[in-house]
Structures are given as C-alpha cells and as structure tokens.
C-alpha cells in the first residue's frame, strides 16, 4: 500500500510539473463550461418564447433539456481527453529507460499499476468536481431535480475510470505516447459507437448493446441508476488493469 501511494505521488508530481495535467483539466473545464453556458442560454430563450404557450412550457424541463445532454456531451470530451492523461504512464517509462528502475525496486507490478491508475483517477476526480460550481449554479435560481445530476456525475466518474484503465493498458503496449493515445482513443470511440450495429443487424444484439459505452451512459445521464451499468464500468476497468498486468508479466521475459 505504501509503495502504491509512493508511485501515485510521483505520478502526480510529474503530471503537475509538465503542462499535461493543466492543459487537460483546463480544456475540459473550458469546453464543458462553454457547452453548459450555451445550453442554459438556449433554455432561457426557449422558456421566454414558450411563455404564451402553456402546453409547451409545461413540457420544458431543466433536467431533460440541460443536464441530460450536458452529461452526454461531457462524456465525449472525456473520451477525447483522458487518453492524453494516460498515454505516458507506461510508454514514457520505457522510452526513458526508467522502467529499469521501477521494475528492480522492491515493489510488485500490481502496486505499480495501481499507483499509476490512482494518480490518473485523482486527476479525473478533480476535473469532474471542478465543474460543480457552474453545474449546480441553476439550483440557486430554480428547482431542478437533483438525482439525475448526481447520477450524471456518477456516470461521468465510472465512464472515466473505465477510459483510464483502457488508456493504461494501451500505454503498456508501446513506448510511443502518441500511439498509446491514438490506440486508446480509437478503441474507446469504437466501443462507444458499437451499438450502431444493432440498427442494421439483430446478430448478437444483446451483446453489442451490452458492450457499448453509450447505452450504459444513457441511463445514468437520464437519472436511471441501474446496478448492471455500474457493474459494467467497474468490470471494464478491472479488465483493463488486468490486461496491463498480463502485458507487464509477459514483457519480463522479452526485455
């Protein structure tokens, strides 16, 4: 445990002594803040216009018009940015030959992987929590439902840890950071969209829907808390870390 924490601390130091963490966090806030602003403004224009139409104004709903699409869009931004966060975790160790230190120190591969993973999860948490000031701002003005907002946040977090775990796996495969980032971005995007196949074929329909990131996130962003979605993300994260472990174990024979 102490070793894991030592590695986490080291990774955080490296994250914040290079521009990586700052750029990723601030871009995330900039883009999500921008989206939120546009959505809220659009919503207020809509509600102004619908003032004369009681039927339409009854249908207007803050959660449905702002929060649900906001979380869905924020998820896409995570998909774009998180591979940048994980790309150096193992690739850079190999390129700089520091893996020779890491793997000869008295620590286990599990501790190394967890240490690195936790550091990226902490940054993800920081990114998500930092959106709270503007996301909760409408609560001072009106009364949206809070549950969908909370499940939306939970969804972002779970989705994020799944992305990060795959990103680490991708980083363990290569010593080229760009390759690691592009590979994890590409595969995650594919998994996000894989449910499209169900439009054209019924073959493996249930399975395709199950492995698609989008379907699981859709529920959470709408306020539906289903254990199967949570289990999906957690098991995806576990598989990513396990594959990383397998890569490190095999590599010991080949270097």
């Amino acid at each position: 445990m102490r070793n894991t924490w030592a590695i986490t601390k080291k990774e955080l130091k490296v994250y914040f002594s290079t521009p990586t963490a700052y750029v990723v966090i601030s871009l995330f806030l900039l883009i999500t803040g921008f989206m939120f602003y546009v959505m809220v403004s659009n919503y207020s224009i809509l509600s102004l216009r619908s003032g004369g139409n009681p039927y339409f104004s009854m249908k207007l709903n803050l959660n449905q018009y702002i929060y649900s699409p906001f979380f869905a869009n924020a998820a896409i931004i995570l998909l774009l940015l998180l591979p940048i966060l994980t790309m150096r975790l193992f690739a850079e160790e190999r390129r700089q030959n520091t893996d020779e230190l890491l793997f000869t120190l008295p620590t286990t591969n599990t501790q190394i992987i967890l240490g690195k993973y936790i550091s990226s999860v902490l940054i993800l948490t920081l990114m998500i929590v930092a959106t709270a000031p503007f996301v909760f701002y409408p609560f001072f003005l009106t009364k949206p439902e809070i549950v969908p907002v909370l499940t939306g946040y939970l969804g972002l977090f779970l989705l994020g840890i799944a992305f990060l775990s795959f990103g680490i796996f991708s980083s363990s495969l290569t010593e080229n950071q760009i390759v690691a980032a592009v590979f994890s971005f590409g595969i995650l995007l594919l998994l996000w969209l894989i449910y499209w196949l169900t439009y054209v074929t019924s073959f493996l329909k249930g399975f395709l829907k199950y492995i698609s990131f989008f379907n699981h996130f859709d529920n959470l962003s709408k306020g539906l808390l289903d254990t199967s979605d949570i289990v999906f993300y957690l098991s995806f994260a576990f598989v990513g870390l396990f594959l990383t472990y397998a890569v490190l174990e095999v590599r010991r024979w080949w270097r």
């Binding site: 490296v14 030959n97 520091t98 020779e100 120190l105 008295p106």
Partner: protein, 248 residues
C-alpha cells in the same frame, strides 16, 4: 553473495547469455568485462530481476531472485547503463521517491536521502530539476539512487561512461569508498578502472564466461601479462559451442 547458476537468456534464436556460472563472495568488487554485445547488460538485468532468464537462476544472499523477487530486490541497488531518471522531478524528490519505494520510512528517509546526496556530492543540484543538470551530475544521481538504503549488493552498469576525466576519477573514488561492506558488480570498458578498484574479474564474450577469478590469479595464469593483454587474448578465444542444452 551473488550467485548465478547456468544462467541463460535467449531472444528468439539469439543467444545473449549462455550457461553463466559465477559466484561473487561478500565484500568483493567484481569487474565485469567483455566487448559490446557480449551479454553483460543482459546478465546484470537478470541478476537484478528486471529480466527473467530463459533458464538457470540467480541468487542474492541465498535468495532466489526469480522465486522471491521482492526479498531479493530489497538487497540490491542497481544503476542501469542509462541512468533511470525522471527529468520532470527535482533531484531531491526523485531520491525521496526511490527511498520511499525501498521501504525507508519517515524521518529515516530524509536522513538517508541527505546521506546519499552528500556522499555523491549532489548538494549543489539537489533542488534542481533533473532535466537541467549536467550529464556528470545525472550519473551521480543514478548512483545516489542505487546506494540509498545501503543495499548489500550494488550492480553498476558502466557507471563512468560519457563522463569527463575529472568526473571519472571522482566517481571511481566514490565506488571505491562504497566498497568494503558491499558486494559490487561493476561493468566497464576502462581497464584501469578494474585494476584500481576490483578484486576479481569476469570476462565474457558472446554470452559465455571465459575467465573468472581473482585478478592476481588470472594474471599469474597468463604469465603476468597486463590486464589489457589478458582481455584481448581472452576474447579472441573461440567460444566453446556446447549444443547439448537438454543435459542440464
């Protein structure tokens, strides 16, 4: 203290190290010689547990490195050929990190880091980012990292490569001062270094051990030739090709 038994490493069909048997007694400094590509680095990587041998084993103080890596790694300080440094970290926080993973706690850690800094002469650069210090200093940070926590065994892969003459002398003196309690394997191409520091030598070529023993005895065997002459004649010997690997 350090023992290898039939240590062998294949990369596909390439034989990097073949049936290496060595035993380095406690307190000895072993000069590890051989041409580039002879298998020195691979051997050291197997001794430190970075690489797993194809077969054979390595032992440190009686602990099998492949079977109980954690226990064995605690006893070893390792300086790879390319010093493993994080350019984004400060010298002191880098050493702090290494000390923490080596299991040195609390106040003791700070003390050990300071000790390592002062014995490698890093006081001037301790607060600077590793990316901003000179090659000589980086090499020293690499050594400081290896000696933190007073490991019983030091494995140093070409510690003086690429340094200027003054730095070479300083590092050599440092290694000499570290000797005594510690068992050291030192790989190098500089033969004076070996004669001035080491008690025994191992010469390897094409993955096989050619000469191994105390320097004096090997010199006797070669009729009091200089180390240079011994080295040249040792590596120009035909490497015996024993192709009955299954007999082991």
């Amino acid at each position: 203290m350090i023992k290898t038994e039939n240590l062998t490493k294949f990369y596909g069909n390439i034989r990097a190290v073949y049936r290496l048997n060595m035993e380095v007694p406690e307190g000895d400094i072993l000069g590890f010689l051989g041409p580039n590509g002879a298998g020195k680095t691979t051997t050291m990587r197997m001794v430190t547990g970075y690489t797993t041998p194809s077969f054979g084993k390595t032992e440190i103080a009686g602990i099998n490195v492949q079977k109980e890596p954690l226990k064995a790694k605690k006893l070893v300080g390792y300086l790879p050929e390319i010093p493993p440094l994080y350019p984004e970290l400060k010298v002191s926080s880098y050493l702090e990190f290494v000390a923490e993973v080596k299991g040195i706690k609390g106040k003791e850690r700070k003390k050990k880091v300071e000790e390592a800094i002062s014995s490698t002469g890093l006081e001037k650069v301790a607060g600077r980012l590793i990316r901003n210090i000179s090659k000589g200093y980086r090499q020293r940070v690499g050594i400081a990292q290896a000696i933190i926590g007073d490991p019983k065994v030091l494995i140093l892969d070409e510690p003086t490569i690429g340094l200027d003459p003054k730095e070479i002398v300083e590092i050599r003196q440092l290694i000499k001062s570290l000797a005594g309690k510690r068992t050291v394997i030192l790989s190098t191409h500089i033969l004076q270094e070996v004669t001035s520091i080491c008690g025994s030598i191992a010469i390897i070529n094409e993955g096989s051990l050619i000469e191994f023993g105390e320097i004096r005895e090997i010199e006797k065997k070669y009729g009091s030739a200089s180390l240079e002459e011994i080295y040249i004649s040792a590596i120009s010997k035909e490497v015996k090709n024993e192709e009955h690997m299954g007999n082991n």
